[in-house]
């Protein structure tokens, strides 16, 4: 019963984080800011949904597969994001910095 409640809390929170990250991906003004929105869904959303499914499945092969999916996501998603950011930086995309705050334009 407690496991059920915990699992539903994790699943709903994961879906909510996914929605927030999707809205951020759509609404934020800059490429690097949009990367922040996508990072929310890749970390918080994915891990909370997987954790909720693990609590729902109990001990067994299904949980092992879910842990494998989570580990693969934790390995590959930051690597892909890093490669994407480095490629964008190499191609000359500069972050959007307000003029009155940062005098040194990077």
């Amino acid at each position: 019963m407690i496991l059920d409640i915990l699992s539903w809390v994790c699943l709903v929170a994961g879906g909510l984080f996914g929605l927030i990250g999707g809205l951020g991906l759509l609404r934020l003004p800059d490429f690097y800011a949009r990367m922040h929105g996508a990072g929310i869904t890749d970390t918080c959303g994915a891990w909370l949904v997987l954790l909720g499914l693990m609590l729902q499945a109990g001990l067994g092969l299904v949980t092992v597969k879910l842990v494998m999916i989570g580990l693969l996501l934790a390995l590959t998603s930051p690597t892909a994001t890093h490669a994407l950011a480095k490629s964008a930086w190499t191609h000359g995309r500069k972050p959007l910095i307000p003029e009155e705050e940062g005098s040194s334009n990077i």
């Binding site: 539903w8 699943l11 709903v12 994961g14 879906g15 909510l16 996914g18 929605l19 990250g21 999707g22 809205l23 991906l25 759509l26 490429f31 949009r34 990367m35 996508a38 869904t41 890749d42 959303g45 994915a46 949904v49 997987l50 909720g52 499914l53 729902q56 499945a57 299904v62 597969k65 879910l66 494998m68 999916i69 693969l72 996501l73 590959t76 998603s77 690597t79 892909a80 994001t81 490669a83 994407l84 490629s87 964008a88 190499t90 191609h91 995309r93």
Partner: protein, 89 residues
């Protein structure tokens, strides 16, 4: 309750596809497609639990690898204009 999470994930995928269609630069599109792939993995996992057959998780594992290799390959192609093979000249 699985239906709620499935709907949230599908809505997020729709938002990511909108950004991929709108995106001003190619990096925005790649970022949106990368996020779309991650959401596909989650959708496969949740749909397996929704239909009571959590056997689709192997497909989720495969999709994680495909997504990663696809993003790296597209970035390489965009940067170097080829996939890394030796030139024929």
């Amino acid at each position: 309750m699985f239906v709620v999470v499935t709907a949230a994930i599908i809505l997020t995928m729709a938002l990511a596809l909108t950004r991929a269609a709108l995106g001003p630069t190619v990096f925005d599109r790649i970022l949106a497609i990368n996020m779309f792939g991650t959401k596909t993995v989650l959708l496969i996992a949740v749909l397996g639990f929704l239909t009571g057959r959590p056997d689709f998780l192997d497909l989720g594992l495969l999709y994680v690898l495909l997504n990663f290799i696809g993003v790296i390959a597209v970035l390489r192609l965009f940067t170097y204009r080829h996939f890394g093979e030796t030139s024929e000249t």
